[in-house]
Symmetry: C2
Subunit: 308 residues, 2 copies
């Protein structure tokens, strides 16, 4: 799957992913109003508005980008209805040729991680029929439980040509509380990074592994070190834009081949219409605002990579 | 919420929780057959069979136990249909007076953890109406992202009188890979345990905090140390039975007041009908087998606590 992602990144000259993380606070009023008219004041209405919102963003940006990353929490907060919208979003994005990275950050003991892997990137057999329940292409995984919480995901990647990104150094302010603790003089995230590289050896797909890593844009120095520690590991880089990262901070997340990283922006793209620099679009034209924000992000990152 | 859980534990003299972790491999054939007859070979059929299974287990055991712990991965593996069964299970268990611990192990950056907290133990407002999407009483939380990934859960606990259990030392064989790494001479799980105790101070509910911890039954020595390090923290103890833990190994997870721990068994109870010692019940009487397994577990743990 990582080979397929790389092909799409090269074709579109776009090492970026759009985070589909809808929030009630910035869903255009028109979409909510239409959904409430159809479904009443209900979680079904929110879910319908969320899907309509995502569909418009996808329609406005799919030719520019290789992938989208729906954050499942933003759907799960609306219960079963929200997860219907999540699933519809995955299906719609795939129908437009996009690779879907489910940002699920799951991780548990072995048999339980196996169940998550089946639900998100695997297959369930019922009688004589097979089903792919959520059917993402790639998912994010939490490493706190160690190898036997991660390997069931890798097994499913190898069976179904899918991929994962394991949390190594996250983008949030308190990520250092445990991740930066020194173990024999080195931060824990380096140990996790080494494990990710080791796990990845069993799932190579061309020059890179289907087992990637998550390293936040907000920690460029750590990104530089981890890049060298995990040379065949693709890095998913959240934290661009709204969380503070910029193109020039991100060049060291990439390898010399110009590959090795894919940068995510969520609110910076999908809530562009709420920001002063895109105010001219107005809420009505939120999807066009998101397209402009993608073009601006691409110019920033392409420029930074060329200047490297 | 922890005060309510303690009241129920005392009333039933039962510091245990039954893990509702259904798997296709041990769902009674009769239930699957009936569901397939109604819904065809489909994920809807599996979900219907899963709910019927859980309902029978709850009906057979609810008078003996204070709480159930559905592991959401076992539902998520069946997609949206599975999550419908999860939600129905939560609602049914609560209708029988049980406290529901959603074993979700979520954790993310602040705003995203906030969304998970809303979806599982919080409230969403849509227009003039309020909804509690999954409506568990307590959930498990992953600490890898540090304080700002955990605090949004605590905020919702404080608003809605709910509770969480934060992963400290998990029950699986490879849990030591990162959790046991030495930081200034002490294992990482002790640092996490100290943080859990600190976080818990802002959410006291009687003698204990609504912020609990998860420590695996398979690591009794670590349980003993963590018990002393987090005196006001309730410990959820998975790994009893199928994973190898026994009552005599667990006494040091409890405080001198006889409280402070609640022991989970999943497959040991709900798949009792597949084990040789309960073979006399037969698959037909799986629920009676689960009741007998609960009684045996209670005898083991009560005996161990009395002998302490």
């Amino acid at each position: 799957m990582i080979a397929k992602l790389i092909t799409e990144i090269k074709k579109k000259n776009a090492p970026i992913v759009v985070g589909l993380d809808p929030q009630l606070g910035f869903l255009p009023k028109k979409l909510m109003k239409a959904a409430v008219k159809e479904y009443g004041e209900s979680l079904e209405a929110v879910a319908a508005a969320v899907f309509d919102f995502n569909k418009a963003i996808i329609d406005a940006t799919y030719d520019l980008i290789p992938a989208v990353k729906p954050q499942i929490a933003m759907y799960e907060q609306f219960g079963v209805s929200g997860l219907v919208a999540f699933h519809e979003t995955v299906e719609y994005a795939k129908s437009k040729g996009l690779i879907v990275i489910g940002d699920i950050k799951r991780g548990d003991i072995g048999s339980t991680s196996g169940a998550y892997a089946i639900g998100h990137i695997g297959t369930v057999q019922v009688g004589n029929k097979n089903f792919c329940p959520f059917d993402e292409d790639m998912v994010t995984v939490n490493p706190y439980l160690g190898s036997d919480g991660v390997k069931p995901f890798i097994d499913v990647c190898n069976q179904n040509d899918r991929g994962i990104f394991v949390l190594v150094k996250t983008s949030n302010p308190s990520s250092g509380e445990f991740q930066d603790q020194k173990v024999d003089g080195r931060p824990l995230y380096e140990l996790v990074g080494e494990k990710v590289a080791e796990w990845g050896e069993s799932s190579m797909d061309g020059d890179y592994s289907n087992v990637g890593a998550v390293v936040g844009a907000t920690y460029p120095e750590q990104g530089r070190i981890l890049r060298k520690l995990m040379p065949k590991t693709y890095i998913l880089v959240p934290g661009y834009g709204a969380q503070g990262g910029q193109g020039k901070d991100l060049v060291d997340f990439f390898n010399e081949d110009g590959l090795g990283a894919i940068v995510n922006s969520s609110r910076g793209i999908i809530a562009a219409h709420t920001k002063s620099e895109y105010a001219k679009f107005g809420e009505e034209h939120f999807a066009e605002a998101s397209r402009q924000a993608v073009e601006d992000m691409l110019a920033d990152i392409r420029g930074a990579l060329e200047a490297k």
